[in-house]
């Protein structure tokens, strides 16, 4: 779920760059407060690579197949590092595969980065007491929030007004089509975090 180039007005694209730039700078300032900020790079790179590769893996959820987004998982596992990691992943996807866009990099960073940071906040608050519930909310909630931001940006950025009735139908169809992804991502993140907490708890440092 990436905004392609050319679909939103240039003012939106520039505002997206400014907002995601501020958010990334703030996230990096929090990362740099750690004793050795570069120590987290291998874990962040692994997650960025999985983010990068998982978008190419189709998971069959009848009647459709979905591509995982994993921004909630990145938030849970990387904390503040999720925002720069998502920006790097989006940049590489746009330049190497043509997924997403160069002008919409900032907006895409917000669509995936904001839910990741909220998932991190939720995981910090509830992950220790209710890990499975928190993982489900982080995984599914991040996708649902990303969908909402994506829809809002597309609808307000289109150069032509949509017919109100058709718009409602289109939004419902879009959300219905992505419901399998919302559910699938939650289940996958719960299963993944269960394994990591048991086998390699160091990889889930904020729970």
């Amino acid at each position: 779920m990436h905004l392609p180039d050319g679909i939103v007005p240039v003012e939106f694209a520039l505002a997206g760059y400014a907002a995601s730039g501020v958010l990334t700078a703030f996230a990096l300032s929090r990362v740099n407060r750690q004793p050795d900020p570069r120590a987290a790079i291998p874990r962040a790179a692994m997650l960025t690579t999985v983010f990068f590769a998982a978008s190419l893996v189709a998971i069959p959820v009848p009647p459709v197949s979905v591509h995982l987004m994993l921004s909630g998982l990145m938030g849970v596992m990387l904390g503040w590092f999720a925002m720069p990691a998502i920006m790097v992943g989006l940049f590489l996807q746009a330049v190497l595969f043509g997924h997403g866009g160069v002008t919409t990099l900032g907006l895409n960073g917000l669509i995936l980065g904001l839910p990741a940071l909220l998932a991190y906040g939720f995981w910090c608050a509830a992950g220790r007491r209710w890990p499975d519930t928190a993982a489900l909310v982080a995984g599914s909630g991040a996708v649902a929030l990303a969908l909402a931001i994506f829809t809002a940006i597309v609808l307000s950025g289109l150069p032509v007004a949509l017919d109100a009735g058709t718009e409602t139908v289109a939004i419902k169809a879009f959300l219905l089509a992505h419901l399998p992804l919302v559910l699938a991502e939650g289940v996958v993140v719960v299963a993944l975090l269960r394994v990591l907490r048991r086998v390699e708890p160091g990889l889930v440092p904020h729970g």
Partner: protein, 247 residues
């Protein structure tokens, strides 16, 4: 599986340095994005094709890399007229294609294809490591440049490992549908655990070889070709924006 860490072969003459290419790509992409008048679309196409011709990329490489954008552009042109506008152009049963939606769809599709073509022509011929070095030299934080370097170093390996694990699951007759979903979580967790230690060792080795971007970026002065290219891109972008406002 394609090796994405190497650049496609081109037959281009000497090219501008990565920083200049990034600046040119961004200037042209944003200028194209600012165009709202359909009369300028042929100009966008001509500029994009001129940049593409200069890149020296083969027609097949271009076709492969533009395929996804082409499908998306076609979808936009097909669907937007169904959802927007009042003047009916064509009706098929309950479906009505409207003129206003078609005009908006064509504008979006043309901008999309022109931006993707220019980005592809300017950035795809670069080895990704040079691209990251260029971004670092333009002010991208060292932490993000290091992250990009390690991601690029590891992406092919992890994709191969993920593919192997998914194939093994299929061969073992893994459950289908929703009941099989937790398996994907377990597979991803196993791949993460296996890869993490290797990534830490790899990162330590890269740092020992002085591979990280941790220090200040190396800034060589722009050459005459770089300045000419950036100037031309800026002039083209400004001319497009002014023409769009004037028309």
């Amino acid at each position: 599986m394609a090796d994405i860490t190497s650049a496609p072969k081109t037959h281009a003459p000497a090219q501008p340095d990565p920083r200049a290419r990034l600046v040119m790509a961004l200037m042209l992409a944003f200028a194209f994005s600012a165009v709202g008048n359909a009369l300028l679309l042929p100009v966008l196409g001509a500029v994009a094709l001129a940049v593409l011709a200069r890149s020296g990329m083969g027609a097949r490489q271009v076709a492969v890399r533009l395929r996804a954008a082409g499908v998306l552009a076609f979808g936009i042109v097909l669907v937007l007229p169904l959802m927007a506008g009042t003047q009916v152009l064509f009706q098929l049963g309950p479906l009505r294609w409207h003129a206003e939606g078609l005009a908006a769809g064509l504008l979006i599709a043309a901008r999309l294809l022109a931006i993707v073509t220019v980005t592809l022509a300017l950035l795809a011929p670069l080895p990704p490591y040079q691209l990251v070095a260029g971004a670092r030299a333009l002010g991208v934080p060292a932490l993000m440049a290091d992250l990009a370097l390690l991601t690029l170093r590891y992406v092919d390996e992890l994709r191969a490992e993920l593919s192997r694990a998914l194939l093994a699951r299929r061969l073992r007759g893994g459950k289908g549908g929703g009941r099989g979903l937790p398996d994907y979580g377990v597979i991803l967790a196993a791949v993460l655990i296996r890869s993490h230690r290797r990534a830490e060792n790899l990162w330590a080795a890269m740092r020992l070889r002085g591979y990280g971007a941790g220090g200040a970026p190396v800034l060589t002065p722009f050459g005459a070709r770089d300045i000419r290219g950036m100037g031309l891109a800026a002039a083209t972008g400004i001319a497009l924006v002014l023409a769009d406002r004037a028309l």
